[in-house]
Symmetry: C2
Subunit: 262 residues, 2 copies
């Protein structure tokens, strides 16, 4: 993937990168199993944004700020999840405001959104917390439960509840800069990873613009390896997949002739 | 949780901390959904090790080394997953050796482990890669597929395949330093998060040694909130849970009398 390509010194003028920052004690205690990272990663990859790093931090303002500043200065976008509800442990908006050195207060547009769902007499101080938005941020609509996310420069702040996060991602995606999406082809071979490793390394060396990954499996009593070729040049990906297919055929033929001679 | 307690200036002499470092392009592309972080977090929390941070990095040596050095200098332990197979994209062992400034070579004890499963004539160069271990590391047995993990000082290097990672964690756990495990109590209330937020904040302020988290749910047509009190002092956790229960009863009574007067 192109995080790697840059590290290998290849220029990618059309490259858009991202980091995911998952915020919440409940993920680090294992009480809640995070489902957002995998979803966001797949979604962004498909639209042409490369996720290059992810971090999970607890509900501690200094930890959130440190991670935010490290990531937002390094990648095109940072997507955060979690910590924008009404309770005392929801501190993401304040952390974002401090990270950017801006003020934070109740945003009238956000209040109007909350009032679409919450009767005015139930809009207590706790619920109003969900309308506290850092100054200069743009709201991200929440079609599920109304309390909005927001975007502050290159930082996109979303809810932790998967259904709400997914709806917010749909809202914000059309506004994002994207690059040519990665193309990938998967070749499944009935060979163990240790048997394909050497020819695979040779193919990788011959095709530096394609990133080749291999993932062993054991299914229905059969050992095999799924080999994924991925890159921005569809023709190069196609050629790499062809070479991998040829390698698999050769290994199968060699195994057959070894059986015969045995 | 106690990551937070330390940030609040409380001393925890018996505290053991950890970070999880997930290594692999396939997690960041969304192709593979990580299941290891949640498992490790829950496992370590139960035995008295607090997971304070997690990171996911791609298969790029410099990225792995930077993350490893940041985490191993900050926490008691770092648990890594992924990148210890036989193919060209498996570079974790080399990254660990470079991070610690030690050499790396084929380890005879690791070869003996591989030979328990792999016939000697199939032990090619690629498979021997799985026996390359940084100098000074101790092996972690792999009862599933034999290729070992290893521990280098406070860094525990495990496989990415969940079943193998889990077996390695079982192997290494009895050798780890642990603190008193966190106790937690969950109180489920039939109130929306925005209605419990204010009394919950008051309880949190009254019970600073207990960490109180709240997680809204909507199930079978009912809105509610699961409130989790967590801490190292079981008596304080019990008292916090009692206060949360009393708060829920009070809110329910108030709602009932409001219904009556309506």
């Amino acid at each position: 993937m192109s995080c790697q390509m840059e590290a290998q010194g290849m220029t990618k003028p059309d490259r858009v990168t991202a980091a995911v920052l998952v915020i919440g004690d409940e993920i680090l205690s294992g009480r809640t199993k995070d489902k957002n990272l995998g979803y966001i990663a797949e979604y962004l990859t498909h639209i042409g944004i490369d996720v290059c790093e992810a971090r999970v931090v607890p509900d501690i303002e200094d930890e959130i700020i440190t991670a935010l500043n490290a990531l937002r200065n390094r990648y095109t976008y940072v997507f955060t999840t979690g910590g924008i509800g009404p309770t005392h442990d929801d501190i993401t908006a304040d952390a974002v405001a401090r990270a950017f050195g801006v003020g934070i207060s109740v945003n009238e547009e956000a209040v109007a959104m909350l009032l679409e769902r919450i009767p005015r007499q139930e809009l207590n101080d706790a619920r109003l917390r969900m309308a506290r938005i850092p100054h200069g941020a743009n709201l991200i609509a929440n079609p599920v439960s109304k309390a909005p996310g927001f975007r502050m420069e290159n930082v996109i702040v979303m809810a932790g509840v998967p259904a709400i996060m997914q709806a917010m991602l749909d809202e914000v995606a059309p506004t994002l800069e994207t690059a040519v999406p990665l193309t990938s082809q998967t070749v499944e071979v009935r060979e163990k990873e240790g048997d394909v490793a050497a020819p695979l390394r040779a193919i990788q060396e011959a095709m530096p613009s394609v990133q080749i990954g291999s993932y062993p499996f054991f299914e229905d009593g059969v050992y095999g390896t799924r080999i994924v070729a991925r890159g921005r040049d569809p023709e190069a990906v196609r050629r790499a997949a062809e070479m991998i297919g040829a390698m698999a055929a050769e290994l199968a033929a060699a195994a057959k002739s070894a059986d015969k001679s045995a």
